[in-house]
Assembly symmetry: C2
DNA sequence: TCTTTTTACGTTATCGTTACCGTTCATTTT
DNA sequence: AAAATGAACGGTAACGATAACGTAAAAAGA
């Protein structure tokens, strides 16, 4: 095969049919493994297709079959190192199955999540994966319900609406508190991330339960953007308003990084004066000094599983609902 | 508009035509702003389309026009924080123009770049953006040449093949050396990244020239993967084999982060004993302690400009060739 | 041997849109 | 007033693949 390949060849199925001396229909059947062709014909067709370097036209195929072999992926902020890992996993799994990823990034609130989902659907993706949606339930269900397969990451939904890959943040939260208490910390504050976050709420449930189990309660709770800047502002506020604290648990690692900056600026040493726990275990977490104690979530795996689940829901009627991922406590130097 | 929207409505152009009392052709013309319809007809059609919530079928449209309103974007490693920024910029610009991004991630060498480009092309993207290609010129030109518009990021190419958005790494390299020399460093080693990197080679050219201008030369040059792990290994090697050095310049920030780890492990203090300079200015760079001195590249802008350039090349015959981005020295605490 | 089933194809119609080529009718030109 | 022009629209035929249905031959069953 030293002839230059051509992924956009103008060779049509009719050309292949002609070359193989059969009808286009037979070529279509053979190329889609639908049987109904003798071994020799199959060989002749395969040979001709290869010889002519035939590539099915995705538009024509889509027009007939209403399938695009494309998956829509919506992430809230690709700039947060958590999501590239998820994307990476999704990309791998999709690519193996011959699917491509149509990526959309929710830019803060400047463009609404709802619009982006619709844009993806309008492009006729075969299914859609939405990460950490902040849409109200009703809206989300309305947008997703009528069509196509869907999988939500870190967000619950009934099985008719979507499959789900969720992290058990309650257990994660619980482990964080247990660990801090074990280290002798009692005056713990929470940097809670965005109010509207589904995952944020379940963390809080876990915190409350585990505080209660230890006969403690949160010293303070502040909400903020899930970014380093947000964490820094929140931590600064905590340092000013809740002086006695000896630990902070952060919504995610980015927040924890911000909190570290704020502490450093205030001349407070970590972990001696204040212990710090994050969530996610983004790659930077272990590169910081002190390296960040955090609850690791298998990000790449989430992406992979989301795609697998989605492909399953695309292909079959009997739809799997999803899986739960349990975060793992990674103890480093901030506690 | 309290009727539920439907991004996949089965309303066809014929339905709209019927409702507006015209032919499908007229609807098509109006909806594509091709003129040839009176003001009132235009209004009637627009109204009907909106009323029925008509959405053009992208497959049918593509089949006729061979346009998908989709851009392929190939990045080498989405896990490197450099690329999400580029993607973010590209996504923004594409989204504004009504285009979607088809994302592909080159997983190390397990899947070849060439295949992924072809997969993108096979999906009939209207244009393709390739970041930091490591393909040999001949291969790259062969894959790109015959079709569609293309833009390369950090890689040169003749105008007939592709537009280019390149960083002037030569100047960047020069500024890094000047800065170190100014700080009194003379025994400088280079962590040079991957051998096959286009940008890596132009950095080396800049290093050589600037060393010469100062009457110096590199104490050592080691190549490595463009990752933290790669940088760590390279730095460890340098510490063992080139004992007297007082500075390291790294291929990118990830390498620099790895080098920091290696130095810390060896009990070497930064910047007192060894100064460190990175490239890119990824978000983590300023969050490290000591914060990393680096050459900032406008990543988001690169993504935006790449898309703009690509859309221009898609739309017009007379094709712009591209722009050069000059990195800016950001002095922090490692020098 | 004759009927029934199965295998291996081919025909036709269709998905929804737009390019190409007309046609009609009002307006301007001479 | 006749002819030329142009604006506003319509009819038809692809674009390329496949679903639905049809048919001829071979294989299986009676």
């Amino acid at each position: 095969m030293n002839r230059p390949k051509d992924p956009e060849s103008k060779i049509t199925i009719a050309d292949v049919a002609r070359a193989a001396g059969v009808s286009p229909m037979t070529v279509s059947r053979v190329l889609n493994d639908q049987g109904g062709a003798s071994a020799e014909t199959t060989q002749r067709i395969l040979l001709a297709a290869n010889e002519l370097n035939y590539r099915p036209n995705p538009f024509a195929r889509g027009l007939r079959s209403d399938r695009s072999r494309t998956i829509g992926l919506l992430v809230p902020d690709i700039t947060n190192p958590f999501f590239p890992e998820v994307i990476r996993g999704a990309e791998d799994a999709a690519s193996v199955a011959g699917y491509n990823l149509l990526l959309s990034n929710v830019v803060e609130n400047s463009k609404r999540e709802e619009e982006l989902i619709e844009a993806l659907l309008r492009h006729r993706v075969d299914g859609i994966i939405v990460c950490s949606s902040r849409l109200p339930d009703a809206t989300l269900h309305k947008v997703l319900a009528p069509h196509r397969a869907a999988v939500l990451i870190n967000r619950e939904a009934p099985n008719e609406i979507a499959g789900t890959i969720v992290t058990d943040y309650e257990i994660g939260a619980s482990r964080a508190i247990d660990h801090l208490v074990e280290r002798g910390r009692r005056r713990i504050a929470i940097i809670a991330g965005p109010r509207s976050s589904f995952g944020g709420k379940s963390r809080l449930v876990g915190f409350r339960k585990t505080f209660a189990a230890h006969g403690l309660e949160a010293q303070a709770i502040v909400y903020c953007d899930p970014t380093a800047a947000g964490g820094q502002a929140a931590a600064a506020q905590l340092l000013a308003e809740a002086p006695g604290i000896d630990a902070m648990i952060c919504y995610n690692d980015l927040n924890a990084i911000g909190a570290m900056k704020a502490c450093r600026a205030a001349g407070i040493s970590i972990p001696e004066q204040i212990a710090l726990v994050g969530f996610d275990d983004i790659p930077t977490a272990e590169l910081l000094s002190p390296a960040l104690t955090t609850l690791r979530v298998q990000k790449r795996e989430m992406g992979e599983e989301a795609v697998r689940l989605l492909l399953n829901r695309i292909a079959t009627k009997k739809r799997q609902h999803g899986i739960v991922i349990v975060p793992e406590l990674i103890i480093r130097e901030t506690t």
